[in-house]
């Protein structure tokens, strides 16, 4: 892994849990959020950055909006770990699709050389179905199934991110 990677996703997706699990897995000490900077974990070769939730609508609190804007400002240079609650996707009714913010981020991911989707909460029921739905809703997007409490998928995230960093260039991220 190299450079800065933003952990992004909708409310309740499990971003912070994954941020902490990945930080521990990579041996990167966690620095809590301060007024000027988000929570981040600086490792040997990588810095993970936790970000505020991506809501579908404009957030009523200006401070929250500013925080999200600052996170998005880092986007073009940073890698993206897009956390999606696979259990919620699986539980939803068949035609439901994804939240607008998740779709927009996945669409951006098609053109971003360092993007990876994490189908989270694989330890919960319905998550496997959710993973299946994500794969069919978003063909060509690189997805890794993870479960933070059980440390599933963290190794795959590390490999995939290393490969994405190496392969930056082709229009589509490699299918991993």
């Amino acid at each position: 892994m190299s450079g800065e990677w933003l952990i992004m996703g909708g409310p309740g997706a499990g971003k912070t849990t994954l941020f902490l699990a990945l930080a521990r897995y990579l041996g990167a000490p966690v620095r809590a959020a301060t007024r000027g900077a988000p929570a981040h974990a600086r490792g040997r070769a990588v810095t993970l950055v936790d970000t505020p939730s991506l809501t579908d609508d404009v957030h009523p609190d200006p401070a929250a909006r500013r925080e999200l804007a600052r996170a998005l400002a880092r986007l073009p240079r940073a890698g993206v770990l897009h956390v999606v609650d696979a259990a919620r996707v699986g539980r939803a009714s068949p035609g439901a699709g994804l939240a607008a913010a998740d779709l927009a981020l996945a669409q951006l991911g098609r053109h971003h050389p360092r993007y990876l989707m994490l189908a989270a909460k694989q330890d919960l029921p319905w998550a496997a179905l959710g993973l299946d739905r994500l794969l069919s809703l978003l063909p060509g997007v690189a997805v890794v199934a993870v479960a933070a409490p059980l440390r599933w998928g963290l190794k795959e995230v590390r490999w995939s991110v290393a490969a994405a960093a190496r392969a930056a260039g082709p229009r589509r991220p490699p299918m991993l």
Partner: protein, 346 residues
């Protein structure tokens, strides 16, 4: 940057900001799609549950083989040639057209267009003519799908018949153009089974078999509703009830499947188009009508006699249900059946 300022100020929502960022990264195209547009188009079709599931299985299989290749593991060859079996009007051609776009989006076909042919487009009148015609169609379909309707008619047999030459040309094309041509053979269920059975090599070359069952009466009702809504019409409650009753009676009365009510979705489309004309006739007789009247389809506008005719038990117990089969194909089927049942020991 300006975008982030707009986000912080609450002028734009996060999805909007992300879409703009994507454009900035070279994303080109418009608003994020709800799902890959073609898969959404497939999902929007009424019924066809098993078809939709199978298409996803095929996509997932291809995606996993790609991952395995990327990981340096042995991967299965991804063979996408298919057989679509089912009665007319059950969605075979519609699904084939959408499938072209789906496979293109998934990166499995370069272009994803569909060339629809039948026997006459592939078979010629003299030696060599067939190979030429067939090759032309294959060339036109390169990068996409070649959809062969009533494919069983290629196996007509007989001395002066060039159907076999067409089959050989197709098979060669499947070998030579593995990654940029998908061939779909379509036809009635029993005839396609017989066709695949006559040439043992064929079945293994078409590993994906999708069956298109007859639509249920409720599905046909939904299809009628969808077709009407798409044209800005609506069924009045009495009309809906009458149509539902007629469809259910037809579903029961056509005797034992596999025939089922003839026509299926095509029958419903004819019904909808006829109803639109009848409604126009009814309304034109009035001096003026409001927007509501223009939209509503009353029971009187529905000409249900064709459906209720299908509710009569098929004439002659034991004979195959009557279908629209062109006469020369009917003769060919008889010959094919005689050949298959005479030659093969079950």
């Amino acid at each position: 940057m300006a975008l982030c300022a707009a986000l912080a100020a609450g002028a734009i929502s996060p999805p909007h900001a992300l879409a703009e960022l994507a454009r900035g990264l070279g994303g080109g195209g418009g608003a994020p799609a709800a799902s890959p547009p073609s898969l959404a188009g497939l999902d929007a079709l009424v019924g066809l549950g098993r078809v939709k599931a199978l298409v996803r299985e095929v996509l997932a299989f291809a995606a996993i083989q790609e991952r395995r290749r990327a990981a340096g593991l042995k991967a299965e060859p991804v063979v996408l040639h298919m057989v679509f079996s089912g009665n007319p009007g059950t969605g075979k051609t519609t699904v084939a057209r959408i499938l072209g776009a789906v496979l293109c989006e998934a990166g499995l076909l370069p272009r994803g267009h569909v060339v629809e042919v039948e026997r006459a487009d592939l078979v010629g009148e003299y030696i060599g003519h067939t190979a030429q015609k067939a090759r032309e169609q294959v060339r036109a379909a390169q990068g996409g799908i070649l959809f062969v309707d009533e494919a069983y008619s290629l196996a007509r047999g007989g001395e002066r018949d060039f159907g076999k030459e067409a089959i050989d040309t197709l098979v060669k094309a499947m070998e030579d153009r593995k990654h940029d041509l998908v061939i779909i053979l379509a036809g009635y269920r029993d005839e396609m089974q017989a066709f695949l059975g006559v040439n043992p090599g064929l079945r293994s070359r078409f590993p994906i078999h999708i069956d298109f069952p007859d639509y249920t009466p409720d599905e046909l009702l939904d299809i009628a509703g969808v077709m009407l809504v798409a044209r800005d019409y609506r069924l009045a409650p009495a009309a809906r009830a009458a149509l539902a009753a007629a469809l259910r009676a037809a579903g029961r009365g056509a005797g034992a499947p596999p025939g089922g009510p003839p026509g299926n979705a095509r029958m419903v489309r004819n019904l909808v188009e006829a109803a639109i004309r009848r409604q126009a006739l009814r309304l034109a007789a009035r001096p003026a009508c409001g927007r509501e009247e223009l939209v509503v389809m009353e029971a009187a506008d529905l000409d249900l006699h064709e459906i209720t005719a299908a509710a009569q038990p098929a004439a002659g117990a034991g004979s195959a249900p009557r279908r629209e089969v062109p006469p020369d194909v009917a003769l060919a089927l008889r010959q094919l059946w005689d050949t298959a049942t005479g030659a093969v020991q079950h």
